[in-house]
């Protein structure tokens, strides 16, 4: 009876050793030697530049580096970009790396992960420097929640003094840059220093994985908190020579809500002291050679706009009908035409494609929901969109001028869009040029019917 018992024990021990080896397969192999985090709080979109120097302690080569974020951060994360850098200072070369969101089963406290895929796997003992950029939207909480027009806007920023990481961090420093020197309060976690507009947390040595020290910075931020709640962009392609873009905006001021009266007299006589956090100008960057630009809303045309164009870009500066204070909204439509040959190209396999920029033309605004509709001409087949980041795609039909079967519309939807998403994307489709004759033929047949009717009428008389 003893022998089978011993065999069972040995088997159990064997299984146990195997399991313990597999659970720690990723965490303890890499170590971050130095982490430097620069948090830029100057605009209402939080930008974080993270420089990691990663060393491989384990035996097997590592092909990915994991980034950890808390669940609240991930909700507001607009984009994560990573690049591997080699060289120093002026001779730095950047190699962009793919970043994907991953799910790990044993994540403590609901931590979410992003995995950076390295170009060449990191062998044992090697180090690599990785620079990460990520942007968080809606992360600055206005406090006080309501202000009058003569008060300045103060916001809370919550983060951790220690970098949240699944790896052991040997040394780390965090720098926080505020837009002005007015910082009401900030959490002191030794060593902390404040110099002008910069707060320094660190250096901290030898922190265990998943360590988190919450900090709160209460500072003044009067930059325009321009948020577009919904933006619908319609790009209509016509093979007769132009692309017509129509953009419908629902603009919202996402800062501290305005309370009390709005005194126009005070606003205009004391511009610096009154309405410090309000904004009245918005700048839209449009492509060069834009024509027929209009800016209107439901009431009619809004004439307070300026268009300045040069060879590289056009800048449309618009002023809504009223300055926007906290909690106020404005809706308007901007439309413009563009020459076809700047954006429509022929691919080597005979299909046509539209090369256009995704994203919102307004500078430094967050778009909560962006719907981009590309209306292809009648008779287009097999539409396919290629976008450099994940979007929701679907097809619709639109009936426009001289349409019989309707035009295919490729609809791309994305939530939480920041200016870094203004990248070109392509929509491929096949089109037989003979279909361009469909429109004049329709008009021709219509005219012929009229003439033959008069002929028949004469016959009967």
């Amino acid at each position: 009876m003893e022998a089978p018992l011993r065999v069972r024990l040995a088997l159990l021990l064997f299984i146990f050793v195997h399991l313990s080896l597999h659970t720690k397969s990723f965490s303890q192999e890499l170590q971050i030697i130095n982490a430097e985090r620069r948090i830029d709080l100057t605009t209402h979109i939080v930008t974080v530049f993270l420089t990691l120097k990663v060393e491989n302690l384990g035996a097997s080569p590592a092909s990915e580096v994991l980034l950890a974020f808390s669940p609240t951060e991930v909700e507001h994360l607009a984009l994560v970009k990573a690049a591997a850098t080699t060289g120093k200072r002026k001779k730095k070369t950047y190699v962009p790396l793919d970043v994907n969101s991953v799910e790990l089963p044993d994540a403590p406290n609901g931590t979410k992960y992003f995995s950076i895929a390295l170009v060449t796997p990191l062998s044992k003992g090697d180090t690599a420097t990785i620079e990460v950029l990520y942007r968080l939207t809606h992360s600055l909480e206005p406090f006080p929640v309501e202000i009058s027009q003569s008060e300045s806007q103060l916001v809370y920023f919550r983060d951790s003094a220690i970098l949240l990481s699944p790896y052991h961090v040997k040394q780390q420093t965090t720098f926080i840059k505020t837009p002005s020197t007015r910082v009401e309060s900030f959490t002191m976690v030794e060593p902390t220093k404040r110099a002008g507009t910069e707060l320094k947390y660190g250096p901290y040595d030898n922190r265990a994985p998943y360590s988190y020290l919450p900090i709160l910075v209460h500072f003044e931020n009067n930059n325009p908190f321009a948020v577009v709640e919904e933006l619908e962009r319609e790009v209509e392609i016509s093979h007769w020579g132009s692309i017509q873009v129509t953009e419908r905006y629902r603009l919202f001021h996402a800062g501290a809500r305005h309370k009390g009266v709005f005194s126009r007299v005070e606003y205009q006589t004391r511009p610096g002291a009154v309405g410090a956090s309000s904004f009245k100008h918005l700048l839209a960057r449009l492509p060069p050679r834009v024509h027929s630009v209009y800016y209107r809303d439901e009431i009619g045309n809004i004439s307070s706009s300026h268009l300045r164009s040069d060879f590289l870009k056009s800048e449309l500066e618009i002023e809504p009908r009223f300055p926007l204070f906290g909690g106020w909204k404005a809706t308007f439509v901007i439309g413009y035409g563009l020459p076809l040959q700047d954006f429509l190209f022929e691919s080597p396999d005979g299909r046509r494609y539209l090369n256009f920029t995704f994203g919102c033309p307004l500078v430094e605004t967050v778009v909560d929901k962006l719907v981009l509709k590309v209306v292809l001409p009648e008779g287009s087949k097999d539409p396919r969109a290629e976008v450099p980041f994940p979007v929701e795609q679907r097809l619709e039909t639109k009936y426009s001028y001289l349409d019989v079967v309707g035009r295919t519309v490729v609809v791309l939807e994305k939530k939480n869009v920041v200016p870094e998403h203004n990248n070109p994307f392509q929509v491929y489709y096949s089109f037989n040029p003979i279909f361009m004759l469909a429109e004049p033929l329709m008009l021709l047949v219509f005219k012929k019917i009229i003439l033959s009717k008069s002929e028949v009428a004469k016959d009967l008389s």
């Binding site: 007769w240 020579g241 076809l340 190209f345 022929e346 004049p440 047949v445 012929k448 008069s454």
Partner: protein, 76 residues
Amino acid sequence: MAPKPIGSPIPDSLYPTLSVFLLAIGLIVTASFFIYEATSSRKNRSLVKELTTGAVASVFLGFGSLFLLIASGVYV
């Protein structure tokens, strides 16, 4: 290897001129069609002549109105 841009089959600046000429010719041919209808009697009327004049007039008027639509900004 720059991608080959696709433009319109006819240069954009020609659209207004082209529409004026095509519509003018079309209206002239339409006028001749109606004059023929008015001056001919039941006996010496030829269907072939009527149909050809009508067809030519509608071709010119059709293309002329298309270019008129495009020139005025309605890119159909």
